[in-house]
Symmetry: C2
Subunit: 521 residues, 2 copies
């Protein structure tokens, strides 16, 4: 996303023929004519605010103008102009509006280089950490206004900080793109999300499109527009559409799958001809959220684990190489995989006492396995994983695999037919696909099929302001068929089969079988 001098850039520098008696076209149409020669368009909308400034600016700038242009479906909008000799960057802001984290990225729209990036906690956490609490809060008297204010004020504050970190002013931001789940997007727009969580689960809008930043109270350039990513429904939001845009799945001949793992697992399967999506609860275990030692990313979090097959010694890698304090989702999957591949847990995910040695402890009738002894931990306590933690992880991984099987079988294909398997989100950046395969959470594809997309929502939001792709975004959204996951007998059968490590049907995971072969002998 840092291509220089991208000719898809939304900034065009144009030279206007100065007016004469022979050519007395008005200022606005003179500018549009010059733009037209670059864009092959017949209509460029110019705001009243800009029209009022235009004649003096054009003459001061001797008719050489940098134009910031945005295509809204069928029409182009001039969202700003600058003197062609001016060196202050014309920038855009990409926003990944997460329920927990909000990530902002400022991009120089002339070069498409990232100037600054920062994340902050969604200030709506003050109301409640989860979506449901926030939606209920919004239903109270003035609740919607207040919760909307929280995110708007938070964004304004961070925009100011981020701008000063890269020596620009908020007024230098001419374009914003915002990708968030359906509820977060509603709360940002001041739309009541009341009906999102109530049958039949209706958002206020699917394709919000383009608005002026000042309509939302966002303090950037007064002409700036906000591109809001569309949603497919209450449970498949703009963050995922942004991810699909970023992945490019919708342009490829081969079939790919995109998985965004969190408390909810959102899955998109398809190619250039069709796209099918579903979302389902995978449980918080995959995020490391339920284990006693679970924590979010941060110094001291265990993100990678290996076990010496001879000594069963655990080697835990931590962020910042700090003494270990807890474990995140990817670490937990590594841990489960290592425990399983080394026979410390069996195919049911139960501890095998003979293999655990002194690490296995009993506390109030529940078995615990010491991952990091107190002597080596950053908390001066044993870092442990309990049988309950493992059970919960297995239910989550089984749900994940079942969703993957359900979506592929709904279009009559097998997971083996996938050419690329994208894993999105922070989780996707850290997860070791080999481990996820080992526990049967992800299918047994060649490791190089797995591609981590990182923050694909932010990536898609960045694309939206660095090239003309609003129609593309709409097309992606419109192409998606949403598959309702009915928890019927077939789903339950699949789920039960997936609750084994790696699976009841071992033949689905030949590589895991090979890895475990020494245990069988």
């Amino acid at each position: 996303m840092t291509k220089k001098n991208n000719n898809k850039s939304l900034i065009k520098t144009v030279s206007l023929t100065p007016p004469s008696l022979q050519d007395n076209t008005a200022d606005a149409e003179r500018l549009i004519r010059a733009i037209k020669s670059r864009l092959k368009t017949n209509t460029v909308d110019i705001d009243l605010y800009l029209l009022r400034e235009l004649p003096v600016l054009l003459r001061n700038w001797k008719y050489n103008v940098r134009c910031i242009l945005l295509k809204d479906r069928s029409r182009w909008i001039l969202t700003g102009i600058a003197n062609s000799t001016d060196t202050i960057p014309i920038t855009g802001l990409a926003v990944d509006l997460g329920t927990t984290k909000v990530v902002l990225r400022i991009i120089d729209l002339s070069t498409n280089q990232i100037l600054a990036e920062h994340s902050f906690d969604n200030p709506q956490i003050a109301v409640g950490p989860d979506i449901l609490t926030r939606i209920h809060y919004a239903d109270q008297d003035e609740g919607l206004k207040k919760i909307n204010r929280l995110i708007i004020d938070g964004l304004n504050k961070m925009i100011e900080e981020l701008c000063s970190s890269c020596n620009i002013k908020p007024a230098d931001i001419y374009l914003i793109s915002l990708a968030g789940n359906t509820a977060m997007t509603h709360l940002f727009m001041g739309l009541n999300p009341h009906w999102i969580i109530r049958e039949p689960y209706i958002p206020v809008v699917n394709k919000p499109g383009l608005f002026k930043a000042k309509e939302f109270g966002i303090n950037v350039n007064p002409l700036a527009r906000v591109i809001i990513f569309p949603n497919v429904g209450s449970y498949f939001g703009g963050d995922l559409i942004a991810g699909i845009l970023f992945s490019g799945i919708y342009k490829k001949e081969d079939m790919s799958i995109l998985v965004d793992v969190g408390t909810n697992a959102e899955v998109l399967l398809g190619n250039k001809h069709w796209l099918i999506a579903c979302a389902g609860a995978a449980g918080p275990a995959l995020e490391g959220g339920v284990t006693k030692m679970g924590m979010l990313a941060g110094p001291g979090v265990i993100d990678r684990i290996t076990i010496d097959p001879l000594t069963n010694n655990i080697k835990a890698h931590t962020a910042g190489n700090a003494p270990p304090k807890g474990i995140c989702g990817s670490g937990l999957i590594d841990l489960a995989a290592c425990l399983f591949l080394n026979g410390i847990i069996d195919i049911h995910g139960k501890f095998v006492p003979s293999m655990c040695g002194s690490r296995l402890k009993d506390k109030d009738g529940v078995q615990h396995y010491v991952v990091v002894p107190a002597s080596e931990s950053g908390t001066d306590l044993d870092l442990i994983i309990s049988q309950a933690d493992l059970d919960s992880l297995i239910r989550s991984k089984a749900a994940m695999y079942t969703i993957l099987e359900t979506i592929t079988s709904s279009v009559g294909i097998s997971l083996k037919d996938l050419s690329v398997f994208y894993v999105a989100g922070t989780f996707g950046s850290y997860i070791n696909p080999k481990s996820a395969i080992s526990i049967g959470m992800l299918p047994d594809l060649p490791i190089d099929c797995y591609k981590s997309l990182g923050n694909s929502s932010l990536g898609g939001a960045t694309m939206a302001i660095t090239s003309d792709c609003l129609n593309e975004i709409d097309n992606i959204r419109d192409k998606i068929t949403y598959l309702e996951l009915n928890v019927n007998q077939e789903f339950m059968n699949r789920f039960s089969a997936a609750k084994f490590l790696p699976h009841t049907d071992n033949s689905l995971f030949p590589s895991v079988k090979r890895s475990r072969s020494r245990l069988e002998t």
Copy 2:
């Protein structure tokens, strides 16, 4: 313009399928889908303000909605919604923004019936009666803001009055169209008209398009849009484009001409294939502005005159049959025609003393003709016309005729080739074409070729809000070739020839020759 149940109406009543688990499209897209079935469009823009209200309104109204729709070039905009059972009229406001008079008309957009109409003096007259003074004023410190405020405040006040006169609220106005000359339009929009009057005469914008009423500070429905008629240049404004739309010239196979007579004569010639326009100074004489007895329309103004050929007695018809106080443009042309046809003035427009009798008086060496003696006048003074008044009228009528000859000959046709001759404006409603022909101001076409358009600017503005014709308006504007009137030798030759009554070339006016034949014998 008062067709009932016009199917071109911008109001569509739609019934939405209520949401269900099988059909969980969002509220906005559900509404758009219903609209789409009526309009065959893929995009309908909905304002944020409306989106915020939409879910509650749709549910309260049981998904039956009246929609006010406006097409802005390629996209449709939803400018308002109402309960389908609501009986408050959904209205639009057409504005003829004249330099002197502003005329407002409120139209029920469901039936296209006129609910109320009123005119008021343009409050900018306080700054100066003419365009030039106002443009200079706008150049002063805060001048533009102040002069813009004058018209906006004036409009808001009159809108309120007009609304209460027909029992609606300003919030019931969802659409406004505004047709004015280029300078008045600029001042309304808050655009600096500085460059309009300075070589090379550049407006800020030619095709302003569509704006929100609240951007201008017009207090109507918060969602209301304003359609602003485009201009061809500094001297051919939106009022004329509205007139062309109203006349329908641009749709006809035959060639027609449209003349708007005032201090400036604006002329449009063409048919469905081409349109050519020009504007030129005709002098204020045609408006009755310079004669001592000249006055604008009002009670006591002489608007029609006949002379008894036997007694030379003048019969003056006045507005409201009040005692005569003055004369307006159409009366003056009648007067000149009668004087000429009865030999009281000669082909040079000079008084023929032998024919004038006691009505001819001398005052300070200038000859005056008593039109109405003091005993019969409403002012207790003689109402007189001087030789200087007549000279001025003849220069104006010669300029008018020269402009008509120039524009027709520029495309190689003769005035005789015209099938319809439209005369626009208040002037056009009162002028007697026979009189105008008699003095050689208008060409000697059969009388039934002449059609008075009335307030064609208001008529066009009305069309803009009662049917989807924004593209048509743009097309008219783009089709017009503007002919610069160069005052060269050819023009001067024509002008000199036209300074005779009716013309040097008598063969151009056979009907006048016949009428005057008794004088020749």
